[in-house]
Symmetry: C2
């Protein structure tokens, strides 16, 4: 193509762009700034490779192994039968006449439909969700923690992500010169950084301690806050427990320290507790922020907390259902009213997702016809995850140049990888982060799709990736074997 | 209570509030500003009254008639069997073995599940929705308009509201001193004003012409824009067709004028076309903005458009499913990429809602086992709505002091009501808008729940309310009879 033609094309492109309302230059700069690595360029490339394989393009592998996202059913986990039966009846009530379905399923579905206007799951619900499901959530929380939960402090949501965004929104200022400061862990789940970018919040990074099982050190919280408090109005701290992408499980003492820090510094706590069912480490259990906060007593009744839960994780893995809930604690009643108002324009969370969360908090009990099957399926999923967590930790640590903290909970390993200087230079030449460079090569050579640590944040000079522990045991063995070979070759190539 | 006790309580409340992060004073001021009348105080009062009735409190009526929200199934509309069968199979695949279900239902569900990772509706989908459903949407649009639609320009959403908010977000500036100007009709559906408030947009009101069937006059668009362009960067115009709350249907010529105006003034068009199946007026039909824009040809290929559709309205009325789609037209490819990135952190719309929208755009065809029943149900719902639209228009206009434009489409009447001076004064004394004062009395005396016109916006000095035409024919007759008596008494009382 001649230079003049290129120039004239460029010129006409400029003209074309100039005459549109929205261009990269004019689009909301907050949107431009946001990134969400879990579905970022490497995952898009994985999708392209899948299409190439379908079209017969030769590759050194037969299929893409998606270990990038906690998408349980996508990699073979089976749904919990009872959950699908109940939601199925809510969507298609003639199933209530099916003689093959257990009576508790039918009773449960009738109970939920009884909470729907006109008895139909096709009706709008209250913006905070169906009242009886909110009451079931409150009963679940009360039983879990041993402290009362008022259903008026619970709202249902379209997955946990939706609720997290709703609560963060309340905390924003409208003054770009004095933005709300939101503390988030590094590494973090990128929903937080994406939402901070979208809302124009000032992000305060606190670093988890990789040398101490990804522990959360309150001195580091203090350091991070002190270093940034002049640049914003600090308003909130986000904690993910069990951790994503890091898989750590916080001790009760640690949670208490965090709450005391939040009180001292007047911070609203957002507790992402979607992995509360997913604990694998010996001697550890899940402590909810609500429980610890309640145990601290009256002096802490001004510490505001929002806790988030989802149907996507746990043993359910119903990511596509988009069900979740949020409990708010110690909110000013006027603020709670504003919160409820703020969700009203979106009308309501989807009813199948609401029904699914009801099953999670209100599952079959001993003596009910569905109890045995339900427990068997639930136990099996969690036992498998436990096995895979231990296996992944072990196999990763057997590889030279790879170091991985124990996967104590959640669904991910976040290994530390050695990347040689030569590779770091090669990455820089391509304009890529070193771990993105590494993960792209891993994908192109083995079909394994993981997410570079840079998408979650990490200490400068360290490199990681996040992989899920969700594929089947033989698949994970195969994946890690392939990974080992790749990593050795990579080290050889760049050392 | 003694004055000192009151004061000390007030003081301790202040202290308590001061030590929280979030109070009415510190909450995000955009959230504080937003209002959503369709679920506002009058609807909350209706809920309280329902509870009072349940608890045996005596009222001059036996039940609340909810004519405040377009919630079809809540007031007795039955779901479309085929839709629920397909979605039911997607949620509960053992139904695929049910000998009583038609083969096309099973084929359809298998087809959708084939588009889900791992074959499960419990998996995350692409953030823009399942690819084959996006292709079905594109095929529906192409057939509807006679102009090609590329599925890459379609994304599925959690109801239309979600998509509208996604597109408006792209248009925002991040500079409060120079906000994005968004033109919205008055009266409007309050999602628009709520979203503008939430995002800090500058709202430019253009008035629909009540004396001309709620027509949209381009001179009024020009007036509104000229009067406000110094206060903002005008970027978008929202049009609701068929109208909500006004029920008007735009002519093709009118749409053409709006598009020419948008081109001239460089405005992004948001076309809320969720009522595209709901047209009742003789001689009128639905013209999509996409079609008219395409007919205008090459000179208009820089006019950016987003069109919204939902499973909640039409003949489906599946409000609880939260399904919808958006087609974007003439977007800069870089901007489209940003749009897709912006929705990735929310992961994906719920899969049952996605399956539901697929049924809407890909419904049974002649010769398929489900065709006859599907057509019968669909035709019945639309024929009933047609009857109710005509009946409501007629009966309202028979009442002294009430004037109502023809309900040409959508699901609402928006009658103009005479409110006597004495009532306006009485309302002012209570700190209420005159029509809110009126609607509260209507609710307390008759149980009829409608939304005051002030929640949608109206010309100063005029008063309206929005009522749905969704209750059954006998219910609407009864409702309007009760309303007539109330209105006569109200006029007598305050004249």
């Amino acid at each position: 193509m001649s230079t003049s033609l290129i120039l004239s094309r460029r010129f006409s492109t400029e003209i074309r762009k100039m005459s549109k309302v929205l261009t990269l230059e004019t689009i909301n700069p907050h949107v431009r700034k946001m990134e969400y690595a879990v579905r970022g360029p490497i995952v898009q490339r994985a999708g392209e490779i899948e299409k190439e394989l379908k079209n017969g393009v030769k590759k050194p592998f037969k299929e893409v192994i998606r270990a990038n996202i906690g998408d349980c059913h996508a990699v073979g986990q089976k749904p919990i039968t009872y959950l699908r039966q109940v939601v199925g009846c809510c969507v298609y009530p003639p199933l209530l006449e099916d003689a093959n379905l257990p009576s508790d399923v039918k009773d449960h579905a009738k109970y939920i439909l009884g909470g729907c206007s006109g008895g139909s799951s096709g009706s709008y619900t209250h913006s905070a969700g169906i009242e009886l499901i909110r009451k079931d959530v409150a009963a679940y929380i009360s039983k879990r923690d041993g402290f009362a939960c008022d259903y008026n402090h619970v709202f249902l949501s379209t997955g946990a992500s939706d609720a997290i965004k709703i609560v963060l929104k309340l905390l924003m200022t409208s003054d770009p010169a004095n933005p709300a400061g939101v503390m988030i862990p590094i590494p973090q789940y990128p929903l937080y950084s994406a939402t901070n970018a979208e809302y124009g919040a000032y992000q305060i990074n606190y670093y988890l301690d990789e040398d101490n099982k990804w522990g959360l050190d309150v001195n580091e919280l203090q350091r991070a806050l002190d270093a940034n408090r002049e640049k914003c109005t600090p308003r909130a701290i986000c904690v993910i427990n069990p951790g994503n992408p890091t898989g750590q499980v916080l001790t009760r003492e640690n949670i208490e320290e965090i709450i005391k820090f939040a009180k001292r510094e007047k911070l609203f706590i957002l507790a992402d507790e979607v992995y509360q069912h997913n604990i694998y480490a010996e001697g550890y259990k899940f402590h909810s922020f609500k429980k610890v906060l309640s145990e601290l007593g009256k002096d802490y009744e001004n510490v505001e907390l929002a806790s988030f839960m989802s149907v996507s994780k746990g043993y359910m893995g119903e990511c596509g259902m988009r069900g979740g809930y949020c409990e708010v604690v110690n909110l000013d009643p006027d603020v709670r009213a504003q919160l409820m108002k703020s969700i009203s324009a979106k009308l309501c969370p989807n009813t199948p997702g609401q029904a699914a969360i009801d099953v999670v908090v209100n599952h079959p009990q001993p003596g009910q016809p569905s109890y045995d099957l339900y427990m068997k399926e639930r136990t099996q999923v969690l036992a498998d995850l436990n096995k895979k967590a231990k296996m992944t930790t072990k196999l990763l640590n057997e590889i030279e140049g790879v170091k991985c903290n124990e996967v104590m909970g959640a669904m991910y390993a976040f290994p530390n990888i050695t990347i040689p200087e030569k590779a770091i230079k090669a990455a820089a030449e391509k304009g890529q982060a070193p771990d993105a460079f590494y993960c792209f090569q891993l994908l192109e050579e083995t079909g394994i799709c993981v997410v570079p640590g840079s998408g979650f944040g990490q200490r400068e000079g360290t490199y990681h990736f996040r992989m899920t522990i969700l594929p089947s045991i033989p698949q994970i063995e195969m994946l890690l074997q392939k990974f080992k070979t790749f990593h050795m070759n990579f080290l050889n190539k760049y050392n």
